[in-house]
């Protein structure tokens, strides 16, 4: 026993095993389970183990799938665009315009205050604001900007994306801010010394050096939006669908094999997107 422990290989494996066990139990097994179930068969009232491609055939044969996936991509791309612009701007302000560390920390913590409440509550709080007789509409009417309430403010793609941007911008701010804080300030002076204008410094120095942070933020936002179902359900008033809702509907109807098949397709899509993103930027340095 003592000799066995002295063997470097054995002790190495033993040190790694707790983490490996956790990952296998809580990551690999569930995903394997989903993949297995996705090939099972189902009737109206039962599911049975099998190896069928029926679920996938149905999924890829239905036009609903394509429109729902398209919708999911649309939300992801638009949300990504907004969170990137807002997140970059906020991070830039915090990193380069706020000079004192105390203020940087204070303002940074301010950004996290919304996270003290749950996602759902932050989402729902938009409803009285955006509703037909909500704050936004009544204010606009009282200012005389509009004559009758804007219908598209709530239960529309607008409100869905608004909620997404609100919920997920911080996931963009944090990694970008982190990368920006690591940029040597003398690089910016060096750019200035070499005649670069503010905009040139931004595009030639700051953005290239911030890319890894942008990429990590993008991965967060894209995966969160692609996998979301509750925001779309609440903010669209059940009028829009994304892949997450497709899966949650199937689960509600106890159609586990079909839900699993959709989940596998969604997971593959997201992994593919991340793989493509990682081709562009080497984020290893950031980790």
């Amino acid at each position: 026993m003592r000799n066995l422990l002295k063997n470097r290989n054995v002790s190495g494996w033993m040190l790694a095993s707790p983490l490996a066990v956790v990952l296998v139990c809580f990551l690999v097994l569930p995903i394997a389970m989903i993949i297995v179930v996705s090939f099972w068969g189902a009737t109206e009232f039962s599911i049975y183990p099998a190896f069928l491609f029926d679920n996938y055939a149905f999924l890829f044969g239905s036009p609903v799938t394509y429109s729902v996936f398209f919708n999911t991509f649309k939300y992801a791309v638009i949300t990504w665009g907004f969170t990137l612009v807002i997140g970059f701007t906020v991070a830039y302000f915090l990193a380069f315009h706020v000079r004192s560390l105390t203020w940087q920390i204070a303002l940074f913590l301010l950004c996290t205050i919304p996270f003290w409440t749950s996602n759902i509550i932050r989402m729902i709080s938009w409803i009285p604001f955006l509703g037909r007789n909500g704050l936004a509409n009544s204010t606009l009417i009282s200012w005389g900007v509009i004559d009758e309430p804007l219908e598209w403010l709530l239960f529309s793609d607008f409100s869905v994306i608004l909620a997404f941007v609100h919920l997920y911008t911080l996931f963009m701010v944090v990694p970008i801010f982190n990368t920006m804080m690591r940029i040597d300030r003398s690089l910016i002076e060096a750019a200035y010394d070499n005649g670069a204008s503010g905009l040139q410094t931004l595009t030639n120095v700051i953005i290239p050096l911030t890319k890894p942070g942008i990429m990590i933020g993008s991965i967060f936002v894209v995966t969160l939006v692609m996998g979301d179902f509750i925001t779309v359900r609440f903010m669209s008033g059940s009028q829009s669908a994304n892949v997450g809702r497709l899966i949650s509907n199937d689960i509600a109807l106890l159609q586990y094999p079909s839900a699993a098949a959709t989940a596998v397709v969604l997971l593959s899509t997201v992994l593919l997107i991340i793989a493509v993103l990682l081709r562009f930027v080497d984020i290893r340095k950031e980790l």
Binding site: A190, A191, D193, Q200, L209
Partner: protein
């Protein structure tokens, strides 16, 4: 009376709130000279350099280059270029792109840029490394690249902020002779900030010693070393004793203090330490009035007649070796 591309500082002042970093300094740097701003950390030498570079706005006073006031021009429009202490090379750009960065900012096309960068890299012997990234270079190589990047703008004044402090001692000595060679080849003004006396003595045509936000003394290396005007300069340059005599304070070089018979001595003391240093022997003497005096004696003279510690000795010197200093 500024001639050519001389650089002149006119009662240049920098205050940060209540703190004065640079206090009304006036100085005239001759065109084509190698000047060293020398001083301990916090003396204002870096702030002065950064004001000349345009990275810090002066609170008062002005910077005149070649007859025109450049105090408020952006760095790239002044005819100065700065080499940063940490080199500040752009980590995402190749050596060649780093060097030609300023040309890219001016909108020069890629082929011309590459050619100009190539010429600069040749000047600093870095041609073979044009396509490497800064991470893949040693400290000395990075410094050459930083130098090439600063020189490609054809500056009249090159500002170097502690350029040798990040290098190991061996490389430091090699790079400093290289800096001197480049300065002579290009014939432009170099202003070099350093806290190392050796570096300043080895390189500078003119040394400007700063302390407590002001210039203590400026002059040629020999002048500043041999005839310090203030106690601070004498102590900071090293190799000097500052002695209080009845008619004032004087600086005297360690190697001009001699041991002598008690009867002929100008000051008496007791040897507290003897240190053999190869070519000479360093003697610590506690003289009357609790003054610590260091004498450097050639080793053969000392060993002809060795003196053990705790012996009473007399010290003497020639009158012309004494330089009156102010406190």
């Amino acid at each position: 009376m500024t001639t050519g591309q001389d650089l002149e500082l006119v009662s240049l002042t920098k205050r940060y709130g209540e703190t004065v970093a640079v206090d009304k300094i006036d100085h005239h740097f001759r065109a084509g000279s190698y000047a060293c701003l020398l001083g301990p950390s916090g003396c204002g030498k870096s702030t002065t350099l950064r004001m000349i570079a345009g990275h810090e706005d002066p609170t008062e006073g002005s910077i005149v280059l070649g007859g025109s006031d450049v105090s408020w021009l952006p760095p790239a429009k002044r005819g100065t270029a700065m080499m940063f202490q940490s080199y500040a090379l752009f980590p995402h750009l190749s050596v060649s792109d780093n060097v030609s960065f300023s040309l890219k900012m001016k909108g020069v096309e890629a082929a011309t840029r590459r050619k100009a960068a190539g010429e600069m890299l040749e000047l600093v012997h870095m041609t073979d490394f044009a396509d490497r990234l800064p991470d893949q270079l040693s400290g000395g190589q990075q410094q050459r690249v930083a130098l090439a990047r600063a020189l490609i703008t054809n500056p009249q004044v090159l500002l170097l902020d502690e350029p040798l402090s990040a290098l190991d001692p061996f490389l430091r000595i090699r790079m400093r002779s290289e800096l001197k060679r480049l300065q002579q080849e290009l014939g432009i003004t170099f202003i070099h900030v350093t806290h190392s006396q050796d570096e300043a003595l080895a390189l500078a045509d003119e040394i400007v010693v700063m302390n407590n936000s002001i210039i203590e003394q400026a002059g040629s290396a020999r002048e500043v070393f041999n005839a310090p005007k203030t106690e601070f300069v004498a102590r900071f340059m090293g190799g000097h004793n500052v002695i209080a005599l009845p008619h004032g304070h004087f600086a005297i070089r360690n190697d001009q203090v001699r041991l002598t018979e008690m009867g002929e001595s100008r000051i008496a003391g007791k040897i507290t330490g003897v240190e053999y240093q190869g070519a000479h022997v360093l003697l610590n003497v506690l003289a009357v009035g609790d003054q610590e005096i260091t004498a450097i004696v050639p080793e053969e003279i000392f060993f002809d007649n060795p003196i053990p510690p705790d012996t009473d000795v007399g010290l003497t010197w020639d009158d012309h070796a004494l330089h009156p200093v102010t406190a």
